[in-house]
Symmetry: C3
Subunit: 152 residues, 3 copies
């Protein structure tokens, strides 16, 4: 059985990862491009199914400050994360869970996108950061379901 310090550290790690992923939704809907980017490592990757791959803080921030996200915000949007299941292995982790984008329009609110997400994370000197997030819409494609495969 791991000792008390290791158990405490593991709980802190799991708590920090849950908080980071919750913060993504809050920062995205605040339009905080730099805040969103800072959740990733300097050369981190955010691969959004249908939109390609953003690499590094400048490209990830541009997803938030760019026209697609800004149009969503002008309409009104909610990036609601589901709960994640977390597997930690030393200083790296895999978190898997859903995300919803709810969009406001003339007819009220609607679910604009429902996605699978796989978050690879690493713990460094400043805490947990995202190495790579893959997101794909759960529209029947196998690629989205594959993001929910267990860690290898």
């Amino acid at each position: 059985m791991p000792d008390r310090d290791d158990r405490l550290t593991l709980l802190e790690d799991r708590d920090a990862i849950r908080d980071l992923i919750a913060r993504y939704g809050v920062l995205a809907d605040r339009g905080d491009a730099d805040g969103v980017a800072a959740l990733w490592e300097t050369d981190g990757i955010y691969a959004v199914g249908g939109f390609g791959e953003a690499r590094g803080h400048a490209e990830i921030a541009a997803l938030i400050s760019g026209p697609v996200h800004q149009a969503l915000m002008a309409d009104g949007c909610a990036h609601v994360m589901g709960p994640v299941t977390i597997d930690i292995n030393g200083d790296v982790a895999l978190a898997r869970g859903h995300s919803l984008v709810v969009r406001h329009g003339a007819g009220g609110f609607e679910v604009f996108r429902a996605s699978a997400n796989s978050w690879q994370l690493r713990k460094g000197s400043e805490g947990w950061r995202v190495i790579r997030r893959d997101n794909a819409p759960l529209d029947g494609q196998q690629a989205a379901r594959a993001l929910f495969d267990p860690p290898v």
Copy 2:
């Protein structure tokens, strides 16, 4: 580095705040007006964008026992909270996250409301309670996005 007791207490605090916010959704959809009100401090505030400000247990309970919420419950509704990012500073805390109201109607379920929430909380002799919750629909207005501003 904080000592082990402080680390344990911090994790307990974060866990308790997550549980309190999850309980809100369960109590609201159960129609438990007194249970909902008891999540707040005696003179706590629940400011609901578009519905004004309820202050104190009696007014907060009246939001649940009142006609708007009762009509939602008769139709069928789900007050689904998103995950929250939590910042604790001593015995006060700020939690930020989304909430969805899903409503049942003739055409099935629909997202009736998607909101930003800012929860100010305080830890007292009976645990964490809400000082003030602000909720505003994410329909494009800046007021809702501002609820996701970081703690000052």
Copy 3:
């Protein structure tokens, strides 16, 4: 006040229950019938309002490999769990919270089902497992709201 070991164990239990429920959604949308079933005890029950009661791993797995769930997956679906409020009493626990099934179709995504859930869980030699999960759509029926009753 409970001693440090008890406090640590309680936090680990609560974390494990949250993770198990998040894992349900991930495994369901991955179509992992055995993985879903293994969340339950060998003779566990999954009672789905409108679909009857599955008992034991084979029947629970059949819910995932069966035609209703497979049709959902072919269209594209997201089983998004809400946060849960957890009450632990020794080696048994009750978790209560929402779940959403979002379905993809010709018109995009829609909320197909919004439900109340009551999860009875037990901690055994292999960790927490589900004794019984009750799920009922929040379509105005009292039976669904009753799943949010507090533990007796």
